[in-house]
Symmetry: C2
Subunit: 201 residues, 2 copies
Amino acid sequence: MSISERKEREKSEMRELVLQTALKLFIDKGFENVSIRKIADAIDYSPGTIYLYYKDKDEILFELHNRGFSEFYKFQLAVQNIEDPIARLDAHGRAYIDFALSNPEYYDIMFIARAPAKKIKLFNNWELGDRTYSLLKDNVKSCIDAGYYQGQNLEAVVFALWAFVHGIASLIIRERMQLVPKDVLQQLTAGALQFMKSTAK
Amino acid sequence: MSISERKEREKSEMRELVLQTALKLFIDKGFENVSIRKIADAIDYSPGTIYLYYKDKDEILFELHNRGFSEFYKFQLAVQNIEDPIARLDAHGRAYIDFALSNPEYYDIMFIARAPAKKIKLFNNWELGDRTYSLLKDNVKSCIDAGYYQGQNLEAVVFALWAFVHGIASLIIRERMQLVPKDVLQQLTAGALQFMKSTAK
DNA sequence: TGCATAAATGAACACCGTTCATTATATTTA
DNA sequence: TAAATATAATGAACGGTGTTCATTTATGCA
């Protein structure tokens, strides 16, 4: 069994190597500069070899999307120990945007890029997206239980808040705020978050 | 003067033909299926000819982005005759999402795709984006003047509302809501809009 | 050591955006 | 009208892309 075990290990090591190389290119040179050929080149393999470990480029991007969610989830958990539900929800929102802007490549592939959407459809579930959504939902639920968002529909509020933070993150990442000076944008974002917090009751 | 006038007319007609063909391909076959070669093919010209009328592909996409804004602006104006400021702002929000979902290709190239961002940066202004933003700002201002959004910062509220509707539109267009049934999604969107309306005061 | 299996190769295919020397068409001049 | 000039269009070529597959190389087992 030892040999087949080693083979399996080597296979997953190679998959990991490809993935890490893709991520590195992704972060260093941007989305449009990641190609199968460049990944292969960076690890001294021929282009065809990549296809022995991944079905196609979308599978690599989908795997990166998964890694992004894993990082994202950890990042979000750091906020869950806050007692006060409103403070927790507020911190959650800020953490969301913070992650997005600190890891724009990950955020893009998780929530903006077209590539992973096809695979999500294929698998007919989006486990990682749902898990993130549930976290937000729990926090909104806590607020409602504590008497905030009175008379509001839980799902509607959750979707609204998600859309809100996603809107900010994606407008910035896709450079629709590039003509707003950085410090002004920061204030604007902080102001918008504060406004959103104030709507809890 | 007649001949040079005709030449100019022919030049702008050809530019228009290229643009309309690009738009048609865009809408019929999606973003990734629009190529210089396919545009040229569709109008029975060689690929090189396109470059006599447009500097590069990004210029075509940027021009489509401009057309999109022109359509968008007209669409938004239809809502401006509503008297009550809150009702007007609410209708504005619904019109925004309505336009985005009815013209996903336009919306994508206006607010999501990477290509136009480079040209925006180049010109160092985003006249069309600013005009749209002003319209929203005026409507929020009217609400504040009428006593709503008390104690809120105008710019912060405008940015928050824009981010909110953009968030909804872009999550749907980039297929992050594809596993939510269409009718449920419609309800969710309506609910979120209603929640947002309720935060005005 | 020889053989079967697995892994890696890299040329080939069909695309892409873009450039540019060459060809064809239209206009102006003699 | 004919020749010369200016404008427009061409399409091959360049360097890139994702992907496939017959061929070669390396490994594991008898």
